[in-house]
């Protein structure tokens, strides 16, 4: 998969950018706060429909402009597509609209056109950070390959939010309403957890293999799904039953704690090396290698699901890695079609990666030279 052209209008610090990216590696270099990450954010928006950092979507819109637009032509194995997203101010916030080949499409239908793996400094916390980061890893891979997953996740999230609000409100919660929310959680939650169980198995085998290629087969890196509640079976129906039972059994506890305590919003991954939990027993170097193995596995899974290499977006992470890990990671991705990389200066990369260096200065781009001869 390859971005043939990118157009930004009133997006972040770009007034009107028309850019034809090279194939292979495209390295954006420049001082801080020039707009390097903004470019990757725009590309990720076309893949996931979301910013990987903005808490407020209105922040994507340049200064006082009414709307921002990101549009790209992308070559895929199914032919060329045009994907666009318009973010328009609406009241205090913003409203997004999605387009495929010039036609407005709902978000759920927009997903899956452009596929990207995003690697940002926050991902470096995947092993030691909060469980939310690991669920984010699962959601990124699943939502891009399954519209049904995205739909269930959105529905599930909305119900959990309402249930938490109900439990936090003063007075005893309405039992029938609580049971209604529990039932909705069980149905969409069953499908979410089932999809995650299948995905984690694929991710785990890729991650274990990547890790073994880099540091040898022993100690083995293992990735396991830790669903909430613990599950014996993997079919959506079985999980739905288990979730329904857990929510029923813990109703009093949830009311007492005033919080939704069980369900896929509490899922986690268990990451271990040679059987020992990495977050507690791993050295910093082992934890970092595990993170890279997970991201390489995400890339491989998306590659397999799409039937072609996804676009790779690396924001400020190469400089965080020592030379050996950087080379091992990039080489393990194999034949990627296109990667967008940001860095303050030209990173040392494997010689096999051809590419171009593009200097970013205050929202304008200038091709500098080929990254490698």
């Amino acid at each position: 998969m390859r971005v043939l052209s990118l157009e930004l209008d009133q997006f972040r610090n770009y007034a009107a950018l028309r850019f034809t990216p090279p194939s292979g590696a495209c390295v954006f270099i420049g001082d801080n706060a020039q707009g390097k990450s903004n470019l990757l954010e725009a590309l990720a928006l076309l893949a996931t429909g979301k910013s990987f950092r903005a808490a407020r979507e209105a922040d994507l819109i340049r200064d006082d402009a009414p709307a921002a637009s990101v549009s790209a032509r992308v070559a895929t194995r199914h032919g060329e597509i045009q994907a666009a997203c318009i973010v328009a101010r609406a009241g205090e916030g913003a409203r997004k609209r999605f387009f495929r080949n010039g036609r407005a499409v709902p978000y759920g239908q927009f997903l899956g056109g452009v596929m990207a793996v995003t690697f940002i400094p926050l991902d470096l916390q995947l092993v030691i950070g909060p469980a939310g980061l690991r669920r984010r890893l699962l959601n990124a891979g699943l939502a891009q390959t399954s519209r049904a997953y995205y739909r269930d996740l959105a529905a599930y999230g909305a119900v959990v939010t309402q249930k938490n609000a109900l439990l936090r409100a003063s007075g005893a919660p309405d039992r029938d309403l609580l049971l209604t929310y529990n039932e909705q959680m069980a149905i969409s939650g069953g499908r979410i957890a089932s999809a995650r169980a299948v995905y984690v198995r694929k991710l785990a085998s890729e991650a274990t293999a990547a890790h073994a290629r880099w540091v040898g087969a022993s100690p083995e890196f293992d990735v396991a799904y830790r669903p909430s509640p613990a599950l014996a079976e993997e079919t959506p129906e079985a999980i739905e039953q288990a979730l329904r039972a857990a929510l029923e059994a813990n109703q009093t506890l949830e009311i007492k704690r005033r919080s939704a305590l069980y369900g896929p919003h509490r899922d986690d991954l268990a990451l271990s090396l040679g059987g020992l939990p990495l977050a507690r027993f791993g050295s910093q170097g082992q934890q970092r290698t595990a993170v890279l193995a997970l991201k390489a596995a995400e890339y491989a899974s998306l590659h397999a699901a799409a039937g072609e290499p996804p676009i790779l977006l690396l924001d400020d992470v190469l400089s965080e890695l020592d030379r050996e890990r950087r080379h091992a990671f990039l080489s393990s991705l194999g034949d990627f079609d296109q990667a967008f990389i940001t860095s303050t200066d030209v990173p040392d990369m494997p010689a096999t990666l051809r590419g171009e260096v593009v200097r970013v200065r205050a929202g304008s781009l200038a091709i500098e030279n080929a990254a490698h001869a």
Partner: protein
Amino acid sequence: MDDLAPPLSGLIGELEKLPTIGPKTAARLAFYILSASREDANALAEAIVAVKDRVRLCSRCFSLTEADPCSICRDVRRDPKTLCVVGEPKDVYAVERSMSFKGRYHVLGGLISPMDGIGVAQLHVKELVERVGTEGIDEVIVATNPNAEGESTALYLARLLAPTGVRVTRLAYGLPIGGDLDYADEVTLARALEGRRAL
């Protein structure tokens, strides 16, 4: 700029407060009203005051009405055993426009949404349960919006009414007439398939 005619700028200011009306449209409307006949202008002013003075909620179904109970609740030709439950009074007008519903209504006054401070107690839910009991209702058709809150509200009502034995149904989701099948989103298509019927 000097304000040459304060009443005119006053009217423009009031019109601008209306939804979807920007400054330009407000000015155009104000100049139109200024040039209209005295009767037309009076009629508009009186109509505005009248809705504020004379429109209230029907004490039975909670839709908008001048006389209480409303004309639909009083209409003996309407099926007294079928209730259509909607979120807002404006939804009554939407269903009425279809001209295919012959029963009566019950307006909840919103949809359940604890995160917006709207719990069951804030809505006309208790009154619905009472009506189902006292009016001998056979079927409750839940016609709440097809969004997250509408879905939860419908499921909640079905659960709440289950012990009464009344038949509770939900509007089927369909495809928009005149739309392209290949551009319908999967959710709409999946729901339309679930609600399919024999030809």
